[in-house]
Subunit: 147 residues, 2 copies
Amino acid sequence: MATAVAVTISDAEWRVMRIVWTLKQTDSRTIINLLAQQHDWKPATIKTLIGRLVKKGALDTTKKGRQFIYTPLIPEQNAMDTALTNELDQMCAMHRGTAIAHVLEQTEMSKADVQNLIDVLAKKLPTAPDAVHCDCLPDGCEGSCES
Amino acid sequence: MATAVAVTISDAEWRVMRIVWTLKQTDSRTIINLLAQQHDWKPATIKTLIGRLVKKGALDTTKKGRQFIYTPLIPEQNAMDTALTNELDQMCAMHRGTAIAHVLEQTEMSKADVQNLIDVLAKKLPTAPDAVHCDCLPDGCEGSCES
DNA sequence: AGTTACAGTTTACATTTGTAATCGGTCGGT
DNA sequence: ACCGACCGATTACAAATGTAAACTGTAACT
């Protein structure tokens, strides 16, 4: 395994990636046009973001005449998983379930997605531990860590 | 409503908050001792983080003799929700469900939590739309945006 | 009363991120 | 053959973040 370093994509860069992920491949012209509509970013700003993503190894480039064609080097689902997991991992293990519950309530999802989540959880239920303990303190936070 | 600005807590600051959330209230001594164990941060580093959190309005201080007692000004669950929601919101609406599925698979949760999530989803199922469309492109990404 | 030890504040500095102007090369048109 | 439009690269700069030393004041112990 070579590039196991899991590139970090910043918020602004994320916007660029979404365009490329969605279009599978594009040139900077298209990216700039689309993004300049959504945000009011100057073309120069978007070029910078593209440049950084290429340097970071998130986008690949293929010379096409005078310009480049950009393609994602890291899969969207992969980036999404990593971002969410990183966020969750830095939170108290005991409270993750509740946090996810709130997120589920507020996230609009298709029937199919909801059903799929139910299935995943149903499969998870049997092996789920009776309790997951707080891991906020070095030792284990016995007693002082309720609800 | 005064401070509706939703303070942003950085990764390193998050560690400090977790200590305070768990202990409900503490002094810097305790925070420093606990954190110095988990990470190898110098006391000065932790002091800086505490100071920034106070300035940001995430921690409250109460003079107690020569030192301060710190208490959380923002609730943990609230911070967790905000962090996760912000992360999710910047992702393609169409793919959020799948990403959450992956996260659910990898997150250890208690039986009670899993069951709770199932309930939340079951309640959500009837009103869930048949499809949630990709919102990565300005227009709506018809056609060019499959799974 | 003097000194120590530690709490909180100020200052420091490199890196990352957001935001953007400018430069340099080239493709296409006249 | 030349000029302009445009692409990608270089440079810029402030704010946030990670990491930490230095400074200041004062409570506690001798």
